[in-house]
């Protein structure tokens, strides 16, 4: 049975995110993912609050990266969370966002290796080992916790490109696929399977999630309106090959990018077409979203994550998902 996850960005105050987190837990979501960007509120403080205000939902950073946060610190944070909410913690680890890393002058050096080595270090130290690690990106000289960690924590690899997706399949307990369209998710799953096969694992052993930009409303116009700002940023950050795969005019995407750079939101948002919304979000009435999720499930995903914006009114959107969408996939 497919699991439903939900993502929140801690740009919002903690109490608003926690209200929605409690609502999501009551409404049948199984996973809560909190994004990690230095310019928002701290991910681990937010997750600690989630540990206190929720009882059964699994939660974790979705995703952190090894450049801004050293792997031993990430290990310490998740191991401590796992004391607060045993068995409910998951770690999402990716290479990070180049634009954000550039802002703070951190180089995204050897992303595949950085992700692989950081996960290696985290798993070792979380299992209580003394870690002397000589990687190409990370080195530790006898790092060890002075407390007894409560055991392993599942690691999900956030991935979009084919090599990272294959690595995710190879080393991850789960994968967070950053895609919304069935064509993209299907391709991503095939890459994940390559990694799974290379590692001699079974595909069913890992939790494969489609991490989507999502917007639901009974009124399709309102659903679309909420999706437009997020889609404009996705379009602006997408490589030409991806845009062409969806029949999106690269020139139009360039215009949106220029408008966003100039903080001309009106021009940027007006440039977003229905094709762009269809390619880069799961958006529409509950019935339309159900249809799209059903298509995505055919590619083999086991978790569907609803991400920003979720809906024009987040509380109403979570209610719609809980009452109309999740039950459809539980029968």
């Amino acid at each position: 049975m497919v699991k439903f996850g939900i993502e929140f960005v801690p740009r919002e105050p903690y109490w608003r995110i926690m209200y929605y987190a409690i609502q999501a837990e009551k409404g049948g979501f199984s996973n809560l993912w909190i994004t990690d960007h230095f310019n928002n509120r701290n991910v681990y403080v937010t997750l600690t609050t989630a540990a206190i205000y929720t009882n059964k939902i699994t939660f974790g950073p979705g995703v952190t990266n090894p450049y801004m946060v050293n792997p031993v610190f990430t290990a310490q944070a998740i191991a401590t969370l796992n004391e607060l909410a045993p068995g409910r913690v998951a770690l999402g680890m990716g290479a990070g966002d180049k634009t954000t890393l550039d802002t703070v002058g951190v180089e995204m050096d050897k992303p595949l290796l950085a992700v692989q080595e950081s996960i290696d270090i985290i798993r070792k130290i979380v299992s209580g080992e003394t870690v002397a690690y000589q990687g190409e990106v990370f080195k530790t000289a006898g790092a060890k916790f002075l407390f007894k960690p409560r055991g392993q924590i599942p690691v999900y690899v956030g991935a979009q490109g084919p090599k990272m997706l294959a690595l995710a399949g190879k080393i991850g307990d789960g994968v967070l696929i950053n895609a919304c369209h069935p064509k993209d998710v299907e391709y991503a799953v095939s890459c994940v399977k390559e990694g799974v096969n290379a590692a001699g694992k079974k595909f069913s052993e890992i939790d494969v999630a489609a991490y989507t930009s999502f917007s639901v409303h009974e009124d399709i116009k309102k659903a679309n309106k909420a999706a437009v700002p997020v889609v404009s940023f996705i379009v602006a950050g997408s490589p030409p090959q991806l845009l062409e795969r969806h029949g999106i005019d690269v020139k139009k995407a360039e215009e949106i990018k220029e408008a966003l750079k100039a903080n001309d939101w009106g021009r940027a948002f007006n440039g977003v077409t229905p094709e762009m919304i269809a390619a880069f979000s799961v958006c529409g009435t509950p019935e339309m979203c159900i249809e799209r999720i059903a298509q995505l499930l055919k590619s083999g995903i086991s978790q569907f994550v609803v991400g920003s914006p979720i809906g024009a009114n987040v509380r109403e959107a979570i209610n719609l998902i809980s009452q109309k969408i999740i039950p459809t996939f539980q029968t």
Binding site: E12, P13, Y14, W15, R16, M18, Y19, I22, Q23, Y53, T54, N55, N313, V314, R315
Partner: protein, 95 residues
């Protein structure tokens, strides 16, 4: 302000509707900075325990809604034929 006093004036059948409206005002407000953390924690605790429609929960929500969205909150009382309570709250806010 004695928020409990005003909640006690509200007919019990209207508690659920008001609770729902106040939650919406708080969650959609742009005045985040006006929410005291102690009050936010009380509201979250009630939500976790499913007691936002109780006297204690509604009192916390009324306080939050009045701090973040006073105009909308007073209008809600008027819409629900409780203009007298809105007036009393207004007077209390001005004193």
């Amino acid at each position: 302000m004695d928020y409990r006093k005003f909640v006690d004036l509200i007919p019990v059948p209207k508690w659920e509707t008001l609770s729902d409206k106040f939650i919406d005002f708080i969650l959609t407000s742009k005045n985040d900075e006006k929410m005291p953390s102690q009050l936010a924690n009380a509201i979250l605790y009630c939500w976790q325990q499913d007691t936002l429609k109780s006297e204690y929960g509604l009192t916390a929500l009324l306080e939050g809604a009045l701090l973040l969205e006073p105009e909308k909150t007073l209008n809600a009382f008027q819409e629900l034929q409780m203009a007298n309570i809105a007036e009393q709250i207004k007077e209390s806010m001005q004193s």
